[in-house]
Symmetry: C2
Subunit: 340 residues, 2 copies
Amino acid sequence: MPERINQKEIARLANVCQAAVSAVLNPNARGNTKVSSEVRERILRIADEYNYRPNLQARILRGNGCSNLVGVLIDPQISLFFYDLLLPLEIELRKRHKRMLIGQIGDNPEETESLLRNFLDHNLDGVIAIHHDVRDSERIFRAFLPLLPQTVFLNHPEGMPDTRAVCIDYANGVREAVLHLAAGGRRRIALCMDDAERYLSMRMRADGYRQGLVQAGLPFDSGLMFIRRPGTGCTFEEVISDAVETLANRSGADAVIAGNDEWALALLKELNRRRISVPDRIALVGYGNVRNICRSTAPELTSIHHGTEEVACKLARALTDPAAAEQPVLSRLVIRESTV
Amino acid sequence: MPERINQKEIARLANVCQAAVSAVLNPNARGNTKVSSEVRERILRIADEYNYRPNLQARILRGNGCSNLVGVLIDPQISLFFYDLLLPLEIELRKRHKRMLIGQIGDNPEETESLLRNFLDHNLDGVIAIHHDVRDSERIFRAFLPLLPQTVFLNHPEGMPDTRAVCIDYANGVREAVLHLAAGGRRRIALCMDDAERYLSMRMRADGYRQGLVQAGLPFDSGLMFIRRPGTGCTFEEVISDAVETLANRSGADAVIAGNDEWALALLKELNRRRISVPDRIALVGYGNVRNICRSTAPELTSIHHGTEEVACKLARALTDPAAAEQPVLSRLVIRESTV
DNA sequence: CTGAAAGCGCTTACAG
DNA sequence: CTGAAAGCGCTTACAG
């Protein structure tokens, strides 16, 4: 592979001026430099022969040309679902000849600001914010949104319903789960998950739970809703043990819908330890439908899916097409052994 | 936040020439433009006030300045372990003020070439190849390595021992596992994994297995080595079922070391289905020590760990420091319930 | 100590 | 139809 060649050098080899080379190699340019087809052929041949690639930095500096870079904001508390989202998202972006620049945001607002400033430096074509649950996020995003290129959120950030966002309807899958469990004869269906105040996604799960109960004609019983409060100082194991004690023993649950697959797995383990049979005595539903997990437990785990491919596709499309952000992505129940 | 300001504008506001601004804002530059401390203060104040950020593209075009971008090559068959590596790697790169540009390579050599060419366009500071198991990879990497910036591989690519690579000693953890199992009284220790020809990592597991047997004073029995051959047309479930049939029933195994945690989970499920107790009748060891999985099974899964943090740190360091690539990272056994 | 100028590679408005 | 030139924002060799 020869050394990198530039337009000036091609022009010299083809015996034309550099502007002609530029015009030939950018057919859709609006410049009015026209060239004869003979000259065009010569330039194209040489460019091909020497493996010409335009200099990206020069193009951007000039004010034309885009970086083909899309910033993707994630955070360290990323759950397995969002991990599963990264690869499909890369595939969707690649289809559009874009590449993913990863920005991991932490708890520190200053670091988040410095990250976004760095994003600005790179002249991104767009930003996809998969995670934006940062302290002070409203202030930060309000300051940066006008400067950043088109930004698409996965669900609206706190207090900013005016942003472009692909939303997941977290409620639907839970509603479906309740109906499925009720159809299987379960009457004491519980919901078990992390702090509901902070995360919209958790609140929506609770909404879906209530909707499902109403549709199934079952009463709501607050004793069947186990929600971990933050800052109690309990370990995860203690919380899970407490949840099983509360739901299975005290409240007489015959089914549990977990806030995510990790919780479902931990619950399954604790139920096994206490010799409470799943699904015979208690049916169990996860959330996230994480590959490799749901199909590897015994019994296989029923879970709620919100199509990573669909979400990835919509996020990528929404960068250029506002319509892609309109319809929410429905979460759906995927039935396996743990509920039958 | 004010509009973006450039050196020319700062120079105008400070009543100096642009070169002075450049000199003040790049203290380590070798230009011999010197400025009085009074002028320096004025320039710094204005730059700060207007939130000056140097234009990255201009710097790169000028020939100085680096992109602070590191390309990271992954592939779609990325296992959960490598996923777990991405976030620690991002953290290590961020410490060095670098950002991760994701390149997902597929089976198609042309796409891989186009990906690498795109990497060249972005003027990367370095490339970390986590996955490089592509068809034709030797030809491709031989062509691109001289053009790419410093490239660090996770394990050497096929046929290229002369590359800079952070190597994982996959053998050690398996050796430790065999010794641990033998110490617990197991005598028929099996190894169960995917095609060993293709992946060095699989061959090294087999090496560690043999070393462990020798050290434990146990005979090698080829009937205890179950290796999936590619292209048989069997589903994953069929392979796992076949493995359990072969190892547990025909070969009388009392312990199984799996090639990865996904296999271990699937084996555990199949053993449960056949009412073969783990660890009572058969001890089980995974590989990868994937978070959320090993601790969520019943019994909890003993697995082999090759410290993602250590690997991430060495990969990032090796970009600038060849010494970081010298010592292999040892895989280690993490003992949990499935082997006691 | 300070300023004017060249040039990185590119696109495009303008003149011939 | 073709060529000469300006300018994106920056660094640095050079002249005063």
